[in-house]
Amino acid sequence: MSKDITLNVNGIDHHVNIQGNETLLKVLRDKLGLTAAKEGCGAGECGACAVIYNGSPASSCLILAVEAEGVEILTLEGITPKDHLHPIQQAFIDKGAVQCGFCTPGMIITTYSLLKSNPDPSEDEIKKAISGNLCRCTGYVQIIEAIREAARRLKRVKGRRK
């Protein structure tokens, strides 16, 4: 089955022709050129393919592109400002939370969603939030530190805006 659909990604409507058996992840990467989300396990275990789907983070490797028509999708590209990094991205760099980088986009998507609903998470809340995002390099300590640092910086940004 092949179908023309409209995908709303990062606030832009994209008209694409897709096959029924193509995952949202594959269409994002191969047809829209949005390569931040990665295919790790392909079975919803690793979180490397996380995107914000209808307001919550989800594994785009387990969503069919054809189901995603009419849903608001946000990828890491949509979170990243044009001329600088997002405070979460900068905190990951500053705290050494990136080694090979494969899990990082998914980690940042999950962090973005966590800090939106809970601007000051405890360590346990952070661990629970990233429990579906596997990292095989850092041992998570730096990632948790980066998330706490990002929370502090985002609060400061918010404070300045007030």
Binding site: N21, P57, S59, E67, K127, S131
Partner: protein, 279 residues
């Protein structure tokens, strides 16, 4: 993943009639299990029928005497619902221990139940609380008790094309506790799971991942319900009945012997907590 025909029915009737048109058609809800099996080539469906457009009730409704949960409610919705957390906290806890947040944001309670894994995390709390499931074949509806829904590993009472529409939970003052043991603290499937529930002086004990279906242990419940006084000795005898009734298997998540020990220890602990007896 092989290609297939994707169908977005707009009514339950339409969904059922599409489903019945072939021998190899599948309903899609959250997709967190189905799409994995399709990607691995274990399932090669002809048609995928998306239930999310079919007008099934969604969300959680609070009525005077019952709570209704739409089959398409996600596990995250149930986990975070302040109302479920207040009235059926053990169901919220079970939902919140299934998979990862990424999975729970997509996976539905209907999918978890219709998949009929003996380890389904939402099964033991629903059986313990006396939930009923509303099944629909597009024309007629019928109600079955949660404990009668499961027939075997991946088998339910659902007839061809029939689907789970809504879950009905009686509102009561009972108290329940859910327990799940898995190899790692988060994300993993259950080695064993269980719910013990108490309403007035009546107990219900439901054990998961230790039989071909989640299993209510009536003989053990009787033991507690008939007792004039519940003390440590009686709790230990009850736990023994539970262990004698279950038939766990040995697999990658634990040996049968280990499962029996887990069940014996934790079912006693849960009963003790509800009865106010130190175990």
């Amino acid at each position: 993943m092989e290609n297939f025909e994707f169908i977005s029915p707009i009514t339950i009737k339409g969904a059922v009639s599409q489903y019945k048109k072939g021998a190899n058609n599948y309903y899609l809800a959250g997709g967190t299990d189905l799409i994995v099996l399709m990607r691995e080539g274990i399932l090669v469906p002809e048609k995928i029928i998306d239930l999310k457009t079919a007008g099934l009730p969604s969300g959680i409704k609070k009525l005077k005497t019952e709570i209704r949960i739409g089959a398409l409610a996600t596990l995250s919705e149930i986990e975070h619902s302040s109302f479920i957390r207040k009235e059926i906290p053990f169901l919220a806890e079970a939902a919140g221990k299934l998979g990862s947040p990424l999975t729970r944001n997509r996976a539905t309670i209907g999918g978890n139940l219709c998949n009929a894994s003996p380890a389904a995390d939402t099964a033991t709390p629903l059986i313990a609380v006396g939930a009923k499931f509303i099944l629909s074949d597009g024309k007629k509806e019928r109600r079955v008790k949660a404990e009668e829904f499961f027939k075997g590993v991946k088998q339910t009472v659902l007839k061809k094309g029939e689907l789970l529409k809504e879950i009905v939970i009686p509102r009561s003052a009972g108290k329940g506790i859910f327990y799940k043991k898995s190899r790692i603290k988060l994300v993993d499937l259950a080695t064993v799971n269980m719910t013990v529930y108490r309403e007035k002086k009546k107990y219900r004990i439901v054990i998961g991942a230790c039989h071909i279906t989640p299993l209510r242990i009536r003989a053990a419940e009787e033991k507690l319900n008939k007792a004039k006084k519940i003390d440590l000795a009686l709790i230990n005898e009850t736990a023994e009945i539970v262990v004698k009734t279950i038939k766990p298997i040995s697999d990658m998540r634990g040996s049968a012997e280990y499962r029996k020990q887990l069940v014996e220890t934790h079912v006693a602990r849960l009963i003790g907590e509800l009865a106010g007896v130190e175990v």
